[in-house]
């Protein structure tokens, strides 16, 4: 019985969604895709296939690393702004304002060209163990993206930490929990649940800012498509494919986050 009802439900929903005009639109879209597939040049694909995969992998890798590091950095930032004394809150607030007030491209170039040109002037930097890393582009890209994610996320976490009801914390204190335990068991999880919907959006935004690292010569998927365009003199095909790749990644990200969100007890606050 329950099974049948579920099937009927699904059928009803699809028929509601598949109205006649939608079918026409889908057909038009399919036609466009087919036209693109047949009339445009795709013969460069096999040649750059492997490079593209490496590029996608690198983009995803940068995204994951910067998001995780940025989030770890954002938690103390948010905490400092939400509860800290003036001497903690003011620098955290200043940091967030500066990061959010300047374009990521400028931050990236400031770090890569600016700092990158300052380092070689000091011999001790050149002799240190860090020099092989500092000569490459990706550490600057990762650093800039991490800082920017932390800046935006710090603001979100401030709101989330402040939004946890006082009673929860007082109850935890009444149980005799230590401050660290309260933070770990009560405060952080609840703030995290609150921030999760925003986090989804921020992660997608972060994905959309990863192509900027291509401007400082990190070979991500965007740089691969630029290279294809330079090699083959094609304008649209690589860009269209690139847009499609980003849309797919966005779709997967949103889906994954909605799964995580669905697992969270929905009565908070």
């Amino acid at each position: 019985m329950a099974n049948e009802a579920a099937i009927i439900n699904v059928v009803a929903r699809t028929s509601l969604w598949l109205q006649p005009h939608r079918i026409v639109l889908i057909l038009i879209a399919l036609g466009l895709v087919l036209a693109a597939a047949f009339f445009m040049r795709w013969d460069w694909l096999p040649q750059y296939y492997e490079m593209g995969l490496i590029g996608i992998w690198r983009s995803l890798w940068i995204l994951a690393v910067t998001c995780i590091l940025g989030f770890l950095f954002a938690v103390p930032l948010g905490l400092a702004q939400a509860t800290g004394s003036f001497w903690f809150a003011a620098p955290a607030k200043a940091f967030c304002t500066i990061i959010r007030g300047t374009p990521l491209l400028i931050q990236l170039w400031l770090l890569y060209y600016g700092l990158g040109s300052l380092f070689p002037q000091y011999p001790w930097v050149r002799e240190s163990w860090m020099w092989p890393y500092l000569r490459q582009a990706w550490p600057y890209g990762v650093l800039a993206l991490t800082l920017s994610f932390a800046g935006y996320e710090g603001e979100v976490m401030r709101g989330a930490f402040a939004g946890v009801p006082k009673g929860q914390l007082e109850a935890a204190r009444a149980f005799g929990m230590s401050r660290w335990k309260i933070f770990r068991r009560i405060w952080l999880p609840q703030a995290f649940y609150r921030a999760l919907p925003t986090l989804t959006g921020e992660t997608v935004l972060q994905l959309k800012s990863t192509p900027l690292v291509a401007t400082i010569s990190v070979i991500d998927i965007f740089a691969v498509s630029s290279k294809v365009r330079q090699d083959t003199y094609l304008t649209y095909e690589p860009l269209l494919l690139l847009a499609l790749i980003y849309m797919t990644i966005t779709g997967i990200l949103v889906f994954a986050f909605s799964r995580i969100e669905a697992r969270i007890p929905n009565k908070i606050g």
Partner: protein
């Protein structure tokens, strides 16, 4: 400095264009027929899922190319589209998608009775839009639109990638010539930050003005 002016010009133009598209888009999404609604849904979804940099490249090249091809097909001469116009058009197109969603939400936040009352008075749709919907949605839309304006100012930096001469590219060239990379990029960052802070202040004033007559946020809580 010319670069800064260019940046502000583009951001202003793009935001205005985006607002126009956004208002139209929001109206279409709320009151339009099913086809219009779906098409707008596709537009906002695609624009918001693809990185701005990719969109800018795509629209910048595709847009100028398409216009030129259309012109030659109709027997006119090819025109050289100025970077300013192309930049405004491209960023405006991107902003339009975001502001569509912001304005749609804001219109939905207007108490339904106000619009119904206006209809009952026999106002024409144009008058309704001008007198009731736009002023009433403004306080709800301003925070979102303010964010969009700040994003627009920062997105202008992306136009440097397609070779349009604005603050970021100007800085890069100046830095390349003088080899003082750090100083110049730092100065540019400060300029952008000042722009953000000043507009923050102005937006606060505008928001206070648009909320006049409404209970203040603190009292409402």
């Amino acid at each position: 400095m010319v670069g800064l002016l260019h940046s502000i010009e583009i951001a202003l133009g793009a935001t205005c264009l985006g607002l126009l598209i956004g208002t139209g888009g929001a109206y279409g999404k709320l009151y339009g027929g099913p086809v219009v609604r779906d098409l707008l849904g596709v537009y906002t979804t695609i624009v918001r899922a693809v990185p701005e940099l990719v969109l800018i490249l795509l629209l910048y090249y595709a847009g100028t190319d398409l216009i030129n091809q259309a012109l030659t097909a109709m027997g006119y001469q090819r025109v050289d589209i100025s970077g300013l116009a192309a930049g405004i058009a491209v960023l405006g197109f991107v902003q339009g998608a975001y502001s569509t969603e912001v304005i749609r939400g804001a219109i939905l936040a207007i108490p339904q009775g106000q619009i119904e009352a206006a209809r009952a008075y026999g106002m024409s749709p144009g008058l309704l839009l001008r007198r009731i919907t736009l002023p009433a949605m403004l306080p709800f839309a301003i925070p979102g639109l303010a964010n969009l304006w700040l994003i627009a100012t920062k997105d202008t930096a992306l136009l440097a990638v397609v070779g349009f001469y604005e603050l970021a590219l100007a800085t890069r060239q100046a830095a390349g010539v003088t080899k003082a990379y750090f100083t110049f990029f730092f100065a540019a960052a400060v300029l952008y930050l000042l722009l953000s802070l000043i507009s923050n202040f102005l937006i606060g004033r505008v928001e206070a003005w648009s909320r006049r007559g409404m209970p203040s946020l603190r009292e409402a809580r």
